[in-house]
């Protein structure tokens, strides 16, 4: 078994009287591609929000394994968690709409460059050097994902499928160790979904990162992931390889309503 990257132990989230996530334990390993599936309202996005700090957990422990040892992510702000190496995309695309594609990517690199406040307002050569480095890095990333031609466009002008792709590129620009993709294929046609499948494989191969994918499109999930978690009513229903999950009676019951 490969070494773990992120573990969540018995995490619980209550919204008032409603338990959205109940006693879920998951582990994501280095360089793994994991799927997270479940019916609507199963708590998938809530789990993402808990792991990325958008909503605090009611109880349970989230730990990140780094070169410096184990780091607890409990009670950390989303920005700190992002800086620790967890990045994400959103179910309902959240790009910086009025800003250019290039700026969207450069913003994600904010924490990797420090030219200093005085350098930036007085434009000493160091500022131009940092800016040039940053732009070059962003352009390289855009080139890999075929977005060079739209680099100067405002993000809101892009077609839907390209916006999804840009969101993934933006998340990668933060240099994550772990990337959460929240329904990347939502609203895409079969052709776009096929492109996305290739893209996800390419990202995992070229960037050597762990990817966790929430998805309803079974063709996409079963094609790319190595391991799956199934959630239902906020609890973990099953875990296994795509093949195991496809033949798991409990999962079939949850999805098809007990016919099988």
């Amino acid at each position: 078994m490969s070494s773990p990257l992120l573990t969540a132990q018995q995490i619980v989230k209550n919204f008032g009287g409603l338990t959205a996530v109940a006693n879920v334990s998951v582990h994501f390993d280095q360089n793994e591609l994991i799927g997270l599936i479940g019916p609507n309202g199963a708590g998938k996005t809530t789990l993402f929000n808990l792991l990325t700090g958008v909503t605090p957990v009611t109880s349970g422990a989230i730990s990140l394994y780094t070169d410096q040892g184990v780091q607890s992510l409990n009670g950390k702000r989303p920005a700190e968690i992002a800086q620790a190496g967890l990045s994400r995309t959103f179910q309902n695309i959240r790009l910086f709409k009025e800003l250019s594609v290039l700026d969207n990517v450069r913003i994600a690199m904010t924490n990797h460059y420090h030219e200093g406040f005085l350098a930036s307002i007085f434009r000493i050569p160091k500022f131009y050097r940092t800016e040039a480095d940053m732009t070059l890095a962003a352009q390289k990333l855009l080139a890999i994902f075929d977005l060079t031609s739209v680099a100067d466009q405002p993000a809101k002008n892009l077609p839907y499928g390209i916006q999804r792709r840009l969101e993934i590129v933006r998340a990668l620009a933060t240099k994550p160790k772990l990337l959460f993709l929240d329904e990347p294929a939502a609203g895409m046609n079969p052709e776009e979904t096929a492109d996305l499948t290739r893209l996800i494989r390419q990202v995992q191969r070229d960037f050597h990162i762990t990817i966790v994918l929430i998805e309803h499109d079974m063709s996409l999930v079963m094609n790319v992931v190595e391991r799956l978690y199934v959630l239902e009513h906020g609890a973990l229903l099953a875990e296994g390889t795509p093949n195991e999950i496809q033949h798991n009676p409990a999962v079939i019951k949850a999805y098809l309503g007990g016919e099988a």
Binding site: T52, V54, R77, P78, A79, A82, Q83, S87, R88, F90, R94, L95, F96, K97, E98, L99, D103, R106, I107, A108, T110, N111, Y113, E115, F117, S120, I121, F122, R123, P125, F127, Y128, T130, E131, M134, R170, A171, A173, T174
Partner: protein
């Protein structure tokens, strides 16, 4: 690097030409004391409105307390230059004003920048009122009577140079890693946070920066007008700066310049109309807002870089 040099040089040329033009008019007697007063007011308003545009247009925080920070700068200069009545004393007082205004902005900003929209507007308005009432009741500020006989240490040239400097610094701040982080918080706070950007920190940076420039405007105001009173920095003063920002276009520094000049000129011309002045002025505002709701220039910016690339594209087509 050479492109940057050319670009910066074009802006420098514009500023020098502007200076020489005003200087020549002054020499030829075209500009009398009345018009000079108008030009200085426009210059100070540009400094104030540029800082407010950074807060409202670029960081997306609606502040109604800009006059409070202006008051801090004005009183720092008013008090200090009475003991050190030299140009050096003026610049020293300006720096002190900037520092105090920035500290005040930090104290105000940390609790209030969590609020959004209308709530933040009311909170910042309250903060400016607190500053005004403090000034009104302190001995060192001479209470409600205010300060007079402040040494005239500022000429139109000082205002012009400081206007250029604050604009350069503000625009440089916006067009940098810092400015992009600030705009990302305006665009989508949740997404910005997920990219590792601490929203409170960057909103605070814009707010404190804006407060610092407001203090510069206040210092110049005190040293040029020579009399200041707490009443000069009430809510109406904040709104007057806000009008310039909204009229010029929220998120356009070029628009702020245009609006400050248009309103300054309008204000001067309308002085011949007596009581009708405020009615015509208000009517002009209403008409502009009806026909151009995004402000005179929207978020358009004058840029030599874009002009340059445009020409180059055209050239390559012709070749």
């Amino acid at each position: 690097m050479r492109a940057n040099f050319k670009y910066n040089f074009s802006w420098l040329a514009v500023m020098v030409i502007g200076f020489v033009a005003i200087d020549a008019c002054e020499f030829l007697g075209i500009i009398n004391a009345f018009i000079e007063n108008m030009l200085v007011t426009i210059g100070i308003n540009i400094i104030l409105a540029t800082g407010l545009n950074l807060i409202i247009g670029f960081s997306g925080q609606f502040s109604l307390g800009h006059a409070g920070f202006m008051a801090i700068g004005a009183y720092a200069t008013g008090i200090m230059t009475q003991t050190i009545a030299t140009p050096l004393g003026f610049y020293l007082s300006m720096v002190v004003g900037i520092v105090i205004a920035m500290i005040a902005a930090l104290i105000v900003g940390i609790p209030t920048l969590r609020l959004r929209g209308d709530y933040l507007a009311i909170a910042t308005m309250g903060a400016a009122e607190i500053i005004r009432i403090l000034i009104n009741n302190l001995k060192i500020t001479n209470g409600a009577a205010g300060l007079f006989n402040i040494p005239p240490l500022v000429t139109w040239a000082t205002v012009y140079v400081l206007m250029c400097l604050t604009t350069i610094v503000t625009v440089n701040f916006i067009h940098s890693r810092n400015g992009r982080a600030i705009m990302s918080v305006r665009e989508d706070e949740i997404a910005a946070e997920a990219m590792g950007i601490n929203p409170t920190r960057w909103k605070l940076a814009a707010f404190v920066f804006g407060a610092g420039t407001a203090a510069i405007g206040g210092s110049l105001h005190a040293a040029y007008i020579q009399t200041i009173a707490p009443g000069d920095f009430n809510i109406m003063a904040s709104i007057a700066i806000l009008i310039i920002v909204v009229l010029g276009g929220v998120g356009s520094i070029t628009g702020t310049f245009v609006a400050a000049i248009v309103l300054g000129a309008l204000d001067t011309i309308l002085q011949n109309f007596g009581t009708l002045r405020m009615i015509i002025y208000s009517l002009a505002l209403i008409l502009i807002m009806i026909f151009k709701p995004s402000g005179l220039l929207g978020n358009w910016e004058l840029s030599f870089k874009h002009l340059g690339t445009h020409q180059r594209k055209e050239q390559s087509i012709h070749e």
